[in-house]
C-alpha cells in the first residue's frame, strides 16, 4: 500500500527516477479472428542517459516496443510513462512537445530519406515543422540562415564535414554509411532526450557499421540521451548498450547489464541466440543443435513462450507463465529453470 502511495505521489509531481517506464504493456494486432500478441505484458524502465538494447529474432516484438516508446503506436493495455507522465492520452501541444524530445533512426537509410529532398530539407524538417514551439522555447527567430547554420553544425557533429558542403545535395550522391549519418543528424537536430534506433547498422557493410557504432557511442556521451537500440546482432548490441533485454514472442525473457547477459546468459533462449553469433574462425558451439520451433502462434500463450523449443522444458513451463525474477546484480530472468 505504501509503495502504491509513493508511486502516486511521483506521478502527480511528474518526477521520476526513470525517463521512460513501460508498465504491463500489451500490444495486440488483430487480423481477422486472430489476435497476435506483439507484446505481452512487458515491463521496462530506462534511466536518463542510459542505453538499452532490445534483442530477439524477427517477430519477437522488438520493433513494436520501439514504436510504442516514441508513440507511433499506442498500447492495447498498460501505460507508458515518460518523465513520470502517461503518454497514452496526450495530444495537441503536449504531444508536439513530446515529439521534440523523442526521435527515431530507422533501419534502411535508402528508404528513410526522401530522394527528392536535399539533405538540408531532410535534416531541417524537424526544425521547420516545430518552428513556433522551438522559437518560443529558445527565444530566437528561426530564419532560413539560422536553420542552415544549425543543420550544418549537426552534420559536422555526425562526421559529415564540412557540413556546409552536404546541405544542397541529394541522397543519391551519398553512400549507405553517409545516409545513415544524415538520418542520425535528423534525429539529433532537436537535441532529443531519447532516441530509438531500429537496427541502424544491419543494412551496412561491416566496416561502415563500425563507423556508425563509433559515432553513436560518441554522440551518446556528448549529448547524454537515452537510447533503445533494437537489433538481432548481439555483438553490436553488447558494444553499444549499458543494459540488454532479450525478447521472445512478445515477452522480455532476460534483462541485465549487457555484458552479463551476453557473457553469462541465464535463459535457454538467450543462450541459443548467443551461440548462433558467428565469431571469427567459426561458431562458438556448432554442435548445439537445439532447433527453435517457429510454428508457435503468438495468440496469448499461457505458459512460457519458449516452452515449445526449450531443451529444459517441464510441465510447469507449459501451464504457468514465468515472471522476471531477480538473480542479483540487476540481472533478471523469466525462467523456472535458469541456466
Amino acid at each position: 500500500m505504501e509503495y502504491q502511495l509513493r508511486n502516486d505521489d511521483e506521478y502527480s509531481t511528474g518526477e521520476s527516477e526513470y525517463l521512460i517506464e513501460f508498465k504491463n504493456i500489451t500490444k495486440i494486432f488483430k487480423s481477422g479472428h486472430i489476435q497476435n500478441y506483439a507484446l505481452d505484458c512487458v515491463n521496462l524502465k530506462i534511466k536518463p542517459g542510459e542505453s538499452i538494447s532490445v534483442v530477439g529474432e524477427s517477430g519477437s516484438g522488438k520493433t513494436t516496443l520501439g514504436l510504442l516508446a516514441v508513440k507511433l503506436l499506442t498500447p492495447s493495455k498498460g501505460e507508458i510513462n515518460f518523465e513520470g507522465k502517461n503518454i497514452a492520452k496526450i495530444r495537441g501541444s503536449r504531444l508536439r512537445e513530446f515529439r521534440l524530445i523523442t526521435q527515431m533512426v530507422f533501419q534502411d537509410p535508402y528508404s528513410s530519406l526522401n530522394p527528392y529532398n536535399t539533405i538540408l530539407e531532410s535534416v531541417s524538417l524537424p526544425l521547420v515543422s516545430n518552428k513556433s514551439t522551438i522559437e518560443k522555447r529558445d527565444g530566437i527567430k528561426l530564419t532560413k540562415n539560422e536553420i542552415r547554420k544549425r543543420v550544418a553544425i549537426t552534420l559536422d557533429r555526425v562526421g559529415l564535414s564540412p557540413g556546409e558542403s552536404f546541405l544542397d545535395i541529394y541522397p543519391k550522391k551519398l553512400s549507405g554509411g553517409q545516409r545513415q549519418r544524415v538520418a542520425i543528424a535528423r534525429a539529433l537536430i532537436l537535441s532529443p532526450k531519447f532516441i530509438v534506433a531500429d537496427e541502424p547498422t544491419s543494412m551496412l557493410d561491416v566496416s561502415i557499421s563500425a563507423q556508425v557504432l563509433n559515432l553513436l557511442s560518441q554522440l551518446k556521451k556528448e549529448f547524454n540521451f537515452s537510447m533503445i537500440y533494437i537489433s538481432h546482432e548481439l555483438a553490436t548490441s553488447r558494444f553499444i548498450s549499458d543494459k540488454m533485454a532479450v525478447m521472445n514472442l512478445g515477452r522480455i525473457v532476460e534483462y541485465g547489464r549487457s555484458e552479463d547477459v551476453t557473457d553469462h546468459p541465464r535463459h535457454p533462449y538467450s543462450d541459443i541466440l548467443i551461440k548462433s553469433v558467428p565469431e571469427i574462425g567459426g561458431f562458438i558451439d556448432s554442435n548445439n543443435t537445439t532447433k527453435i520451433n517457429y510454428n508457435v502462434l503468438n495468440g496469448g500463450i499461457k505458459g512460457c513462450t519458449f516452452a515449445h523449443s526449450c531443451p529444459k522444458v517441464t510441465d510447469k513451463c507449459r501451464i504457468e507463465r514465468p515472471e522476471l525474477q531477480d538473480l542479483g546484480n540487476e540481472h533478471y530472468v523469466a525462467c523456472f529453470h535458469p541456466l
Binding site: E57, D205, S207, A210, Q211, F239, P278, I280
Partner: protein, 338 residues
C-alpha cells in the same frame, strides 16, 4: 578429373551507364578446387556478385564480359563457359553450376505453389523422371517437410524461403554452387542453421561452393579458403586460418579489426576504414587501395598489382606484402575445431 573445378583467367566485366564504363572486374584470376568452400569477402561494390553473375553468363547488354576465360572442368573434359552457344549455356546452367541469389525472399514466384516452382525448374532444364520423388528428396535434404509442397511463398517464413531456394538450386544436381549472400536477410539463429545445412550438403553431395558474403565472421565459419575482394580484384587469398591469423594485406587487416565480437571491450573505439573504394569508371594507377591505406608510400603508386606468395597457397597483392598496420587490434581468434 583435375582437382580444379573452375578456373577464371583474366576476367573483365564492364557495366555501362550512359557514357560511363565501370570496370566491375579487373583482370581477375581465380581457381575453385573440387569439394571446397571458397568464400569471397568484400564491401558492397567490390565486384563479388558480378563474378557470380559472370560465371553463369547472366551479364546482359549493354553490360558485357569484355575479356578473359572461364573454364569449367567436367567429367567430359573442359568447358569454356564464355564460348558456349546460347542453347549450350542454358543446358549448362543449373545442371553444372547453380546459384542462390542474394534476396532469396524475392526469387520465388509469389503466385505458384512450391512444388510448381520445382516442376518449372525441371522442365526448363530438360529433366525427366519422377518429379514427385525428386521434389521430396530435395525438400528433405534442405531441412523442409513434404507439407510445404502445396504452400505458396507468402505462407513461409524467411528461413523456410531461403531453404526452398537452396533446394531449387540443388535440384538439378550441380557440381558447383554459387551462394550470393544467402544468409544476409536472416536472423542469427536461422543463419547458423542454414550455414550448417550448406556445410552438411557440401559433404553429402560432394559440392563445391563459392560463398559470397561481406561478413568475414560468416566466411571464416564456413570456408576452406577465403578470397578478399577489393575494387574488382582479389587482393588476398589463402586458407581460412592463414588469412584470419596472418592477414597480409593492410585492407584485410583493417577489415578484420573492424569486426565487433562479443568480446570487444565496451567503450573502446572500433578501428574503422576511412574513405570509400575507388571509382572504377576511371583508370586506376598503382595500388587501388592506396588512398585509404594507412601504411602507403610513394612506391605504391607504381605497383603493378602482382601477386606474391607469402606462405603456401597464401597470395597477396601488395607491394610490401605482410606490412603491418600499426595499432591493429585483431580480435582474438577461436581456433577452428573440425
Amino acid at each position: 578429373m583435375k582437382d580444379v573445378i573452375l578456373s577464371v583467367n583474366g576476367l573483365e566485366t564492364i557495366y555501362r551507364t550512359g557514357k560511363k564504363e565501370v570496370k566491375a572486374l579487373r583482370n581477375l584470376y581465380l581457381d575453385v578446387k573440387r569439394g571446397e568452400t571458397l568464400a569471397l569477402v568484400g564491401e558492397s561494390g567490390s565486384g563479388k556478385s558480378t563474378l557470380g553473375l559472370s560465371i553463369l553468363r547472366l551479364i546482359e547488354p549493354p553490360n558485357e564480359i569484355s575479356n578473359g576465360k572461364i573454364v569449367f572442368n567436367d567429367t567430359e573434359g573442359d568447358v569454356s563457359i564464355l564460348d558456349l552457344s546460347l542453347p549450350g549455356i542454358r543446358k549448362f546452367r543449373w545442371k553444372k553450376v547453380s546459384m542462390i541469389f542474394q534476396s532469396a525472399m524475392n526469387v520465388l514466384n509469389p503466385i505458384a505453389r512450391i512444388e510448381d516452382q520445382f516442376i518449372d525448374t525441371f522442365q526448363a532444364h530438360d529433366i525427366n523422371g519422377d518429379y514427385n520423388e525428386r521434389i521430396n528428396h530435395y525438400l528433405e535434404i534442405s531441412g523442409l517437410g513434404e507439407n510445404v509442397r502445396k504452400l505458396y511463398p507468402h505462407q513461409l517464413s524467411g528461413g523456410m524461403k531461403q531453404r526452398v531456394s537452396i533446394a531449387l538450386a540443388l535440384c538439378c544436381e550441380p557440381d558447383l554452387l554459387i551462394a550470393d549472400e544467402p544468409t544476409t536477410a536472416l536472423d542469427v539463429v536461422v543463419q547458423k542453421e542454414v550455414l550448417l545445412e550448406l556445410n552438411r550438403l557440401k559433404h553429402e553431395l560432394n559440392l563445391s561452393i563459392i560463398f559470397i558474403t561481406h561478413d568475414l565472421r560468416v566466411a571464416s565459419s564456413i570456408a576452406d579458403r577465403i578470397g578478399i575482394f577489393y575494387a574488382g580484384r582479389i587482393i588476398e587469398m589463402g586458407k581460412t586460418e592463414d588469412v584470419i591469423n596472418h592477414p597480409s594485406h593492410p585492407y584485410s587487416q583493417l577489415l578484420l579489426s573492424s569486426i565487433i565480437t562479443t568480446r570487444t571491450p565496451k567503450n573502446s573505439t572500433l578501428t574503422t576504414l576511412t574513405g570509400s573504394p575507388p571509382d572504377l569508371s576511371s583508370r586506376i594507377t598503382g595500388c587501388s587501395f592506396y588512398p585509404r591505406c594507412p601504411v602507403h608510400d610513394v612506391s605504391c603508386l607504381t605497383f603493378k598489382e602482382e601477386k606474391t606468395e607469402v606462405s603456401k597457397e597464401h597470395f597477396v597483392e601488395c607491394i610490401r606484402p605482410g606490412v603491418q598496420v600499426n595499432g591493429m587490434k585483431i580480435p582474438e581468434n577461436i581456433r577452428r575445431g573440425d
